[in-house]
């Protein structure tokens, strides 16, 4: 095995955050409705509010490290950000590289298609093209369904995928229900609806491996805000649906 270890030499991350009185959170602000800009170009979205809540509870100043899908992880690995709150779904493969906190939300994904399209089950999707955001867990899940004979069109992010659906490049998408509904809002002539449930993923806060104290504090904070219902409220505000019952506080 070819391994290259690069110097650690850093104080405990939690201490340095508290000392700086500032937390740097890696968030992609171009993936609505988790991270986006409102009409006055202020950051908003469910992940943004979660991050804001966390900073407030811990009494820290908040700095968003703007990132793209591809650079969310390198940002924390190289210490340019402290944690990631940016629709990270938990998989075993990814857990080899970074640590995940307990889940703070879940993501229900469906296959959504043009309303007029007659799709009831997987068989109807044969030879249809499904748009997904590249490398997301939806993408991985669909890619592994080799027997289903789907065609997958991968876009760099959800927004491009939605744009493709709005403009008519694809008639089916694999993404969250919120986004599926959004397509019809942008173009009433092309209203999409959820047709087949895909999977439910856990979303968690990502951090560098080997920071047990920070992890502990994060998990405690998540447990508390699940119990008091704040995380559920944020989720509902942006996604229009509630979290699973055991997470509603």
């Amino acid at each position: 095995l070819f391994m290259l270890a690069v110097q650690p030499v850093r104080a405990d991350l939690l201490d340095s955050i508290m000392q700086a009185k500032k937390i740097r959170i890696s968030t992609d602000l171009a993936i609505p409705p988790s991270g986006m800009m409102d009409a006055s170009m202020k950051a908003t979205g469910s992940d943004v509010e979660v991050a804001q809540l966390l900073a407030k509870d811990w009494g820290l100043e908040l700095e968003f490290i703007q990132t793209t899908g591809a650079t969310r992880i390198p940002n924390v690995l190289t210490g340019k950000a402290d944690i990631i709150i940016s629709t990270l779904s938990v998989t075993a493969e990814r857990a080899k590289v970074i640590d995940f906190s307990k889940r703070y939300a879940t993501l229900q994904s469906d296959i959504g298609c043009l309303k007029s399209l007659n799709v009831k089950d997987w068989a109807d999707l044969k030879d249809k093209t499904v748009g997904v955001a590249r490398g997301t867990t939806q993408d991985t899940t669909l890619s592994n369904m080799k027997d289903k004979e789907l065609k997958i069109a991968r876009y760099d992010d959800d927004a491009t995928e939605v744009t493709a659906a709005v403009s008519g490049q694809v008639d089916c998408v694999g993404t969250s229900a919120t986004i599926i509904n959004q397509i019809g809002v942008k173009n009433p002539a092309r209203t999409f609806e959820s047709k087949i449930p895909l999977a439910t993923f856990d979303l968690a806060v990502g951090l560098k491996k080997g920071e047990p104290r920070l992890m502990e504090k994060l998990n405690a904070w998540i447990a508390e805000n699940i119990k008091n219902g704040k995380l559920n409220a944020i989720y509902k505000k942006f996604h229009g649906v509630e979290l699973p019952t055991d997470m509603r506080g």
Binding site: L1, F2, L4, A5, L77, T78, E93, T136, A164
Partner: protein, 227 residues
């Protein structure tokens, strides 16, 4: 603890990298062939006696050369779909790359045309060659020979630039890399690997163009003038 690079974890996906590299080469190949043709036409068009054609060609060249490829790709991809034309991502990618490299080719070819001495044209006219024959034998072929190095560099740049086609769901090398790195979260390994692959691809392309030039330009070969 620091960062550990684990190349085998990423390299085990070599079939995907290979597919991506092949698609990148295919994109580059088709866009090069079609773009060379389009660019040559545009360069000829700029010398047209009809000022309408000449101006249209100029607008095309300037509009493309002064805007980023990514914007052009989005406009073609979403624009075509908005008016109800649906093509595969590959088709759209080739079309957008062709339009892009065509403009650069046109500009390079124009310089080649301009460098043909006037005396050559008069000599050809004096031999009773037709306009078309003059264009082919006396203008086009020598111009291509003259600007061949610039053209080949442009086509290698095109291959590198084709990485933005990942944005419209073409599964070329960068798309594959993005998929693998978000699946494994091993970004460094992935990016280092595709850097090496791109360097390799550009060397392959240069070698290919060198060989092509060797066949196409017997004079260079005979006189040992480097391409």
């Amino acid at each position: 603890m620091g960062i550990e690079l684990d190349f085998p974890a990423v390299l085990e996906r070599w079939p995907s990298f290979l597919d991506g590299a092949i698609l990148t080469l295919e994109l580059a190949f088709f866009a090069t062939v079609l773009g060379a043709a389009l660019g040559t036409l545009a360069a000829v068009g700029r010398r047209s006696h009809s000022s309408l054609i000449a101006r249209a060609c100029k607008v095309y060249v300037e509009a493309i050369r002064n805007t980023p490829l990514l914007v052009q790709i989005f406009l073609v991809y979403f624009g075509l779909a908005s008016i109800g034309l649906k093509f595969s991502a590959f088709t759209v990618a080739v079309a957008a790359l062709t339009i892009n490299v065509g403009a650069y080719t046109a500009e390079i070819m124009r310089a080649g045309f301009d460098a043909i001495p006037g005396g050559q044209l008069e000599a050809a006219e004096g031999l009773a060659l037709s306009r078309l024959q003059i264009y082919w034998h006396i203008i086009l072929l020598p111009a291509v020979e003259r600007v061949y190095p610039a053209l080949t560099s442009q086509f290698v740049l095109l291959m590198l630039a084709s990485s933005v086609c990942s944005q419209i769901s073409a599964e070329e090398l960068t798309a594959v890399a993005n998929y693998i790195q978000s699946d494994t979260y091993r970004a460094f390994e992935t990016y280092i690997i595709i850097a090496v692959l791109y360097i390799f691809l550009s060397l392959v392309m240069r070698a290919g163009f060198w060989g092509l030039g060797f066949v196409l330009f017997p004079r260079r070969r005979r006189l040992g003038t480097p391409l």
